[in-house]
């Protein structure tokens, strides 16, 4: 009986894949608006018109023919990100810094010549990362994580994931890269998720999906983060609200990076955000929604 009680309790708190697909995605996100979440160029267009901070787009390459003309932009730049407009899971994202000899290098030290950059963009256009044949390559500003985050761990770009339902924030986490994830902020690659208290902006315990363990300090840098306040959390929170209010999608996962120079910036939105955040924050989505109904 105890087991059955636990199952019933879990069922009343947690949203699973079936319920996410049926009650959250199908009911709240009309199919005709879904392209806004899938296509980063469409997403950024809305963010820019609404004045929500997002990394500056240097250019968007849509066809092979216009590549050389458009790539002239990067001659004056020293740091860029190249990403597919429709990729997901971080595939095909290239972070590049210019070296003195006019070559580029990635954070992990791989060298890229201008020719190789063109090859990468061609790969994006041919749909290598999105499996779509009409993909576009976005070249944009390279974010530098605020020192608060790089002090916890120096590699990669940690980002916030905030889930909103009907424009109301439900859960938030900070995804922090690790050695295991090879600098990626991907939970299934081994990054740790840190719960964020929506009201106070305090970091909570972290959770590593790969090892299925709760942690209170970063496994590599051993920096203790539990209970530490995130700088300017109110601003990040406000940006999430503004973003949700700008899109005709009512169940959203918003990814925000805190840049050293420009503060929190929206990097992308997700119309079908995953359920792992419930394990990270040790809170069920239904639990939050139900509590909110009771409190109101």
């Amino acid at each position: 009986m105890k087991l059955l009680d636990r199952i019933i309790e879990l069922q009343s708190r947690v949203v699973g894949m079936n319920e996410r697909n049926y009650s959250l995605v199908m009911r709240h996100n009309p199919k005709k608006n879904f392209y806004l979440a899938n296509d980063k160029t469409a997403c950024k267009a809305i963010l820019e018109t609404k004045g929500i901070p997002t990394p500056k787009t240097y250019c968007v390459v849509e066809h092979m023919g216009e590549m050389i003309e458009k790539l002239k932009v990067i001659n004056d730049l020293n740091e860029i990100v190249i990403k597919p407009a429709m990729g997901h899971g971080g595939a095909g994202i290239l972070l590049l810094k210019r070296l003195e000899n006019n070559e580029w290098h990635t954070p992990s030290g791989t060298l890229y010549t201008n020719e190789q950059i063109k090859m990468h963009i061609a790969n994006i256009l041919f749909g290598r990362f999105s499996r779509k044949l009409n993909d576009k390559a976005i070249i944009e500003y390279l974010l530098k994580p605020h020192s608060f985050f790089s002090n916890i761990y120096h590699r990669g770009v940690p980002d916030f994931r905030i889930i909103l339902l009907n424009k109301q924030p439900v859960l938030a986490m900070l995804r922090m890269p690790t050695e295991l994830s090879d600098g990626k902020a991907n939970l299934h690659a081994g990054a740790i998720g840190l719960g964020v208290d929506l009201k106070t902006g305090l970091l909570q315990a972290g959770y590593c999906q790969v090892t299925d363990k709760m942690v209170s300090k970063h496994p590599d840098s051993l920096v203790h983060f539990e209970g530490v306040k995130i700088p300017d959390w109110e601003k990040t929170y406000q940006i999430a609200l503004d973003t949700a209010n700008s899109f005709p999608l009512n169940y959203l996962g918003i990814d925000i990076v805190f840049d050293e120079k420009f503060g929190p910036m929206v990097i992308e939105i997700n119309g079908r955000p995953g359920m792992q955040i419930q394990n990270v924050t040790a809170t069920g989505i239904k639990e939050v929604i139900n509590n909110r109904i009771i409190n109101n």
Binding site: G16, A91, H120
Partner: protein, 475 residues
Amino acid sequence: MKSKVNILNVLIYVLLFLPLPFIVWKLATYDINWSRARSVSCTQYDVKYTFKVQEKLSKPVHIEFILPEANKRQSIISENVDSKGLNIEISKFREGRRIVMSGMKQVGNISCRFKFIGKSQIYKIPSELKVGDLLHNGDMRNFNIFLKDHFLNSSKSSLKFIKHISKDGFKTRSIVGYDLNSENPKQLFWGEILINKTWMPFCVEKGYFAEIPSSFLKLCYVDMDKQDEIPQIPVDLEIKIEKEKLLHPDIIHELENKPMNWVFFNRLFEEQNLPAKILRIILLTPLVAMIISIFRNAIGLNTFGLFLPMLLAMSFLTTGFFAGAAMFLMIIGLISIVHYPLEKFELLNLPKLAIVLTFVELLFLTIVVVGAKFNLEFIIHISMFPVVIITFASERFSKVATEKNYKAAFILTFKTLFVAGATFLIYNSLVIELIFQIFPELILSIIGVNLILGKWIGLRFTELLRFKTLTLPTE
């Protein structure tokens, strides 16, 4: 909005329970002898004789062989003799048929093909007959030991046994035939003893005493007393046998006359020369598709593509489960080996998959060559593994390996294989097929279950494990 849901609920209940009265009615009126249910299946042997005549073209050839005749115990269907233009003479020959072909040798092999379904029979020896005496012991259980001691040390031991018994005054004869269950069928002799006007079979080599298994194909008899010659197999004859499990013709015949069932499809398919397997696949696919949606939505086992396990299970019907599973794993292994460097070269998807497929096809050719060289029958079967599955599997594997990692792709491979195994058990079951033929209305219930699943938003079983930490008391 609300009324929409209500219509759906009504529909679900109707679909779920509508078949029930039909099933009850059929159970009540069909009057089926359920004790026969154990033998719903029989094995059909597809026998093919091929004559590899050594003569040169346009040289006279003469071929003589025996074909079996249909009787109560053995049914012979779809007989097809391809004489390549030779003259054929068919004559009755000691409860079989003698075929004589003669003429000029033409291009191509002469072949003959038929399908055979046999019945197993057990005879009752009248107790007043002291057959036991001649075995020095009335105990039947010792019969095999007795035979082994006395007759098994030589070839054609059944013939010796018959001779031995005929000395005691019984009328006997020998039967020439095949045991189609043996790997390489060679001509087999067994004996028959006339007891109470019934010829009762005895096969010493295989240990049958007044009993004949369904796999014995009788060609003709040889009467030893009359000094009959034993028909010789032509030296250039090659026999190939393919087995297939089928619903028993008796059961089909019995049910065909009952109203409101789909048993008539069996005859329809047979008349159109469509394999019985296709009918089974068609009839059972709704069930299998439902099982797969349960695996995914209620249990939470992800697989490569939604219905790849189903396609895999279908091909396992040809290759057999273990050979098919081994082949699938081999293909996945090869795909990953080829895929890894291509991924490092950063190739686009389609050309990458084209290279992967090329290597898989080369693997196939290698397997066929190896199979042919060492004469491994099952390997030739493996090579019929459908290309569509491999294409699909490599595409999915590559997607997961690219977007996640190889570990995730391998885990998914085994989950796919597990679900394929479960669905194979359904596809392979003649009993389930018969249930759906007798009660086709069950398909409505399956639609009902799928409607429920389509509205079911509970946690999947694997999610109970995934979120288990959330139920642990917090502090």
